[in-house]
Amino acid sequence: MVNIPLIRKLALLPGEKIPEWVILELQGDLQTECEILAGQEIGTLHLAAGTSSPQKSSAYGGMDSSFRGEGKAIFLIGNYALTGEIVSLKKPLALLRKAKQAGPTGDFISILEVDAVVRKKILFRERPRHIIPSCALPKTT
């Protein structure tokens, strides 16, 4: 007998949508001296607002032509600037949470709840660039 878990949607208010998450795909490791990464701030993610927003594009205009335009992102982690792009996933993913629920017979059965849907990911596939020259000044006193 095959145990078919129930997949339940979140209880949504009318008009509310399932929250959509975005995957950040990095080629590399996030390292920290702390024990866990959870709850820590990684960096700043800048999404390019396309050419329609001159303010933003001018802010980065001098830096990288690849950042201009829709679907581009810059992720600043430490001294690195990662340039990426937003990619739609071929198949959307659902973020599931395993939960227990009391079944009709009284015993608990495992069900999966959909926390979020992932339709897009930001793919940082390019080599990150230092935003600090490695030749920076030694500390002056």
Partner: protein
């Protein structure tokens, strides 16, 4: 008892005059005709002594006003002046002032009439009406005679000439100039009308030879007409039989005038003379002068033409090419110069002589597929009065066409023009049959478009379309293309009018050279012989010379000056205002004349000085000539040309006195220009003309002057505009804190020259690793400044393919001064390095601002802080990081303050301040904890992709 006769006054409603009838004809001053081709004599007509008046062209009979004392008793030889007085600006107030003024009019006028009414009677005449007024008792001071030059401006004039007299050398007295430039201080201001006799005071502009525009004390102009001495007698005799009225009042004088008018009209009708014929004693001669000589002696045949033979021949050839289409027969020649051109004996090829064919290339004489000439239209261009229109008509007739003339500046509307052109040019034999009033209705037409340079642009466009065969017919449902089957001859004065640009490309252009002076003189003498006017050929030659060989002007002047049976004297012709060409001199010609002594100048006599010549070219004559020439021209350009060239003129001037005086005059003119154009003190305008005069007297030499066209002003203007654009661009990107103190006025002088130096320190063209500490500081300073001022370098490729880094906005262009050694700037490689730094720093600043704006990282904005002084990139963490993993609040505050300090905008002055952000030691610059960093995995990904089933997760 004065007899005041008045009739048809514009002030008919005045209480002094009882109005039995009102004037049907509205009294409107006629506008000056734009171009009076047949009688372009201008002011001369006002001074006619032959009875030919300008009003001859005006059809309606103008009201005649006779204002005279009992004329029979007066001695006509006294030389009284009569005058047409035009006084448009006479206001009621000023008339009342006249009434109140204590000055009395002549006692004869004081019999119960208000003075103002007399004045009105005087001034209500129109300028175009040939009104005859004798005003013996009314205080008119007429034109001063030449021997008695008038008051103040003449003083100026005299002093000017005296200033260059050798007796007064070294110049004792500078030419009198208005001390202040206010109206009150000006010497040009006429005196207030104190005595009676000065009420109509006339004063002249300085030159003796200029057209005189007399000015009344009120500031208005009036015109006087000289009459022969015995005209009054004639006039009186004319009416003596009809009336014996003693005129005592305005009313009766008005009636008398009506009577006179009626009588005269009746007489004219009886005599079957044209109504507008001229009054006066020369009516018997009127028949003789009914036609203008210009019309009378217009060339009839090809051989009569005075114009250049090459042009004539060329036009005729071109017209003959149309024979194949128009007359359906081949032209007598296939090659236009076959019969005329010289042949080389050897190869029997016609030698093309450009001079013979008016400089037209033989391409013009080829025909197209329809056997029409290559160019469907000919364009004659040349100065007025050379006989262009006559040539076109004569040649058209000669070639068997009926010339049909359109004046493009008259028929300006496109529709009118189009209908006329189409009616003429289209291949319609029907049209040709029913020409009204044509000489030979059966002849094909040749369209002559006169003054095409005055035509509006769309008219010319249409014509171009027609010539190119693209024009569409307006009528009919099917818009057929109009074929051009008749020749078109266009005539213009100025070939380089913008509207004609397109037309020039599709027409055969014939430039009219000037006319052979000997031939013109010969023709004039023939005409004189024919009319029994005795004139020396020397006189006629002078006339030609004066008019620049303008046939029309010559003939008009000749007709104007000559009396049948009498001798024409040199002084008649030598009158300055007569016989001058109705065209302004070219600028180059004007400059040359100013820098050159007149042609008759015989050289200087050491005893009397260079200004005394035997041939009557006295300084005052020369002043007059230059003034006259200059006042017609574009003063600004003339002055500019003189100013740019006066030092180039070769002149012996060891002590630089002349140069000094020239510069002095220029500054004086400049002040005058300012007064005229900024304060609108137009009465000073006349003084501008004296700068060229002074230059002429100071610098004129016998040699042909070499000068250049003045371009400096325009170039400066262009440069100013460009520089202003740069400053505008700079201001646009300037940080607000700097904008507060920077203005477009002080930026170029106070900031930019230093800024361009400061941001280009002598850096080595190496990577930033290898820079010394001092150099790194410099670099940092540069980067900060460039960001603050919104500067950047932009990569550009020159034409030769070399990459350059150009400063944007281009401050180098502003800061480079002519003649000053300019700083060459950094080499391109260094610029590229700085550019990179600037870009990165800019990103950081922006990122920081983004972060603070979003508010998400309030606590630790320094987290993302990236500073140029930071030692190492993230992977190699600074040593202190580990110990400061949990930064204290004070450290954080430090970091924050440091952060805000870095956000400060720098100005030029800040960067060398002692506590400038750049040089200030970084307190907590590197103490920021970096919790997370990123390690990039280069190369391939070793992630394994595997399908996961749901059941695996459970």
């Amino acid at each position: 008892m004065p007899a005041v006769t008045k009739e048809d006054s514009p002030w008919d409603d005045w209480p002094d005059f009882s109005d039995e009838e009102t004037n049907d004809e509205p009294v409107v001053a006629r506008p000056v005709k734009k171009k009076n081709k047949t009688g372009a004599l201008g002011l001369d007509l006002f001074m006619t002594n032959m009875g030919i008046s300008s009003a001859a062209a005006a059809p309606p009979i103008p009201p005649r006003i006779s204002h005279s004392t009992t004329p029979v008793e007066r001695d006509p030889t006294v030389g009284l002046f009569s005058g047409d007085i035009y006084y448009p600006g006479l206001e009621e107030e000023s008339l009342e002032k006249m009434d109140k003024s204590e000055h009395s009019l002549a006692p004869a006028l004081e019999n119960g009439h208000k003075k103002s009414s007399v004045a009105r009677a005087l001034f209500s005449l129109r300028p175009t009406a040939p009104a005859d007024i004798a005003v013996p008792d009314v205080p008119v001071i007429p034109h001063r005679t030449m021997a008695n030059p008038p008051a103040i401006p003449e003083v100026f004039h005299q002093q000017l000439s005296e200033a260059f007299e050798p007796e007064s050398l070294p110049r004792a007295q500078p030419p009198q100039r208005p001390s202040g430039y206010r109206r009150e201080a000006s010497p040009a201001r006429p005196l207030p009308p104190t005595p009676v006799t000065s009420r109509l005071r006339v004063w002249r502009v300085a030159s003796k030879t200029l057209p005189q525009i007399p000015v009344l004390s009120g500031g208005t102009n009036f015109f006087l007409r000289l009459k022969p001495a015995n005209w009054r007698k004639e006039l009186v005799n004319e009416f003596a039989s009809t009336t014996a009225v003693t005129i005592t009042s305005h009313q009766s004088s008005r009636q008398f005038a009506n009577l006179l008018l009626a009588t005269r009209q009746q007489m004219e009708i009886d005599a079957e003379l044209p109504v507008d014929s001229v009054t006066g004693p020369v009516e018997s001669l009127q028949v003789e002068f009914k036609n203008m000589w210009v019309e009378k002696y217009r060339p009839e045949r090809y051989m009569d033409l005075l114009s250049d033979e090459g042009v004539n021949r060329c036009l005729l050839h071109w017209l003959k090419l149309w024979d194949a289409v128009v007359f359906k027969k081949e032209a007598a020649f296939l090659n236009p110069y076959k019969d005329y051109g010289k042949r080389k004996k050897r190869d029997d090829k016609p030698v093309y002589d450009r001079r013979k064919y008016g400089g037209v290339s033989d391409f013009c004489f080829t025909v197209d597929a329809d056997k029409r000439p290559r160019f469907k239209a000919a364009l004659l261009c040349g100065p007025p009065g050379l006989g262009k229109t006559s040539l076109a008509q004569v040649i058209a007739r000669h070639a068997g066409y009926e010339p049909m003339e359109i004046n493009a500046s008259d028929d300006r509307a496109l529709e009118v023009f189009r209908s006329r052109v189409e009616a003429t040019v289209m291949n319609g034999s029907v049209v040709n049959q029913f020409v009204e009033g044509g000489e030979r209705p059966d002849r094909p037409k040749c369209l002559i478009i006169d003054e095409i340079d005055g035509a509006p642009g769309n008219t010319v466009e249409y014509l171009v379309c027609l010539l190119k065969g693209e024009a569409k017919a307006t009528e009919g449902k099917k818009k057929k293309k109009i074929g051009l089957w008749r020749p078109i001859i266009c005539i213009c004065n100025d070939l380089y009018v913008p509207a004609l640009r397109t037309l020039r490309q599709c027409t055969m252009i014939l430039r009219f050279p000037s006319i052979n002076r000997e031939r013109l003189t010969g023709r004039l003498s023939d005409i004189c012989k024919h009319l029994a006017v005795q004139a020396d050929s020397a006189v006629l030659y002078t006339l030609c010379e004066k008019s620049d060989d303008d046939i029309r002007t010559c003939l008009n002047s000749l007709q104007f000056a000559s009396v049948p049976g009498k001798r024409l004297h040199m002084q008649d012709v030598a009158k300055a205002t007569m016989g001058c060409k109705d065209q302004r001199k070219q600028l180059l010609q004007i400059w040359e004349d100013i820098f050159r002594l007149p042609s008759g100048y015989k050289g200087s006599d050491t005893r009397t000085g260079p200004l005394h010549t035997k041939s009557g070219l006295s300084p005052s004559d020369r002043i007059g000539t230059i003034l006259e020439m200059v006042q017609l021209g574009e003063m600004e350009k003339i002055v500019n040309g003189l100013f740019e060239n006066y030092l180039l003129i070769h002149h012996k001037d060891p002590s630089l006195r002349t140069a000094h005086e020239c510069a002095d005059w220029r500054s004086y003119t400049d002040i005058m220009e300012r007064c005229v154009y900024e304060d609108q003190n137009w009465f000073l305008l006349g003084y501008l003309s004296f700068y060229p005069v002074a230059i002429h007297l100071l610098l004129a030499a016998l040699a042909t002057p070499r000068f250049t066209f003045p371009t400096a002003q325009y170039e400066t203007y262009k440069k100013t505009i460009a520089n202003q654009e740069i400053i505008k661009a700079l201001l646009k990107d300037l940080a607000p804190a700097l904008l507060r103190t920077s203005k477009s006025e002080n930026l170029p002088s106070e900031v930019i020259p230093f800024l361009t130096h400061i941001i280009q320190p002598p850096l080595k063209a190496v990577t930033t690793h290898l820079l010394s500490n001092a150099e790194r500081l410099d670099l940092k300073r540069v980067v900060h400044l460039m960001i603050s001022y919104g500067l950047s370098y932009q990569e550009e490729k020159t034409l030769t393919g070399i990459h350059t880094e150009k400063m944007e906005p281009q401050l180098d262009a502003i800061a480079s001064w002519h003649g000053v050694n300019t700083y060459p700037g950094m080499p391109t490689t260094v610029r590229a390095m700085v550019s990179k730094e600037v870009q990165q720093q800019r990103i950081n600043v922006n990122a920081r601002m983004e972060g603070t704006k979003s508010g998400g990282h309030d606590g630790e904005p320094a987290n993302m802080e990236v500073d140029i002084t930071q030692d190492a990139p993230a992977p190699a963490l600074p040593a202190g990081v580990a110990s400061k993993a949990n930064p204290s609040t004070t450290t954080r505050a430090q970091a924050n303050s440091n952060n805000t300090a870095k956000l400060q905008v720098w100005s030029v002055y800040d960067c060398y301040r002692k506590n400038s952000p750049a040089t200030a030691p970084k307190a907590g610059g590197s103490s920021k904890a970096r919790k997370i960093w990123f390690r990039y995995k280069e190369g391939y990904s070793n992630a394994v992709c595997r399908d996961i089933k749901v059941k695996d997760l459970l």
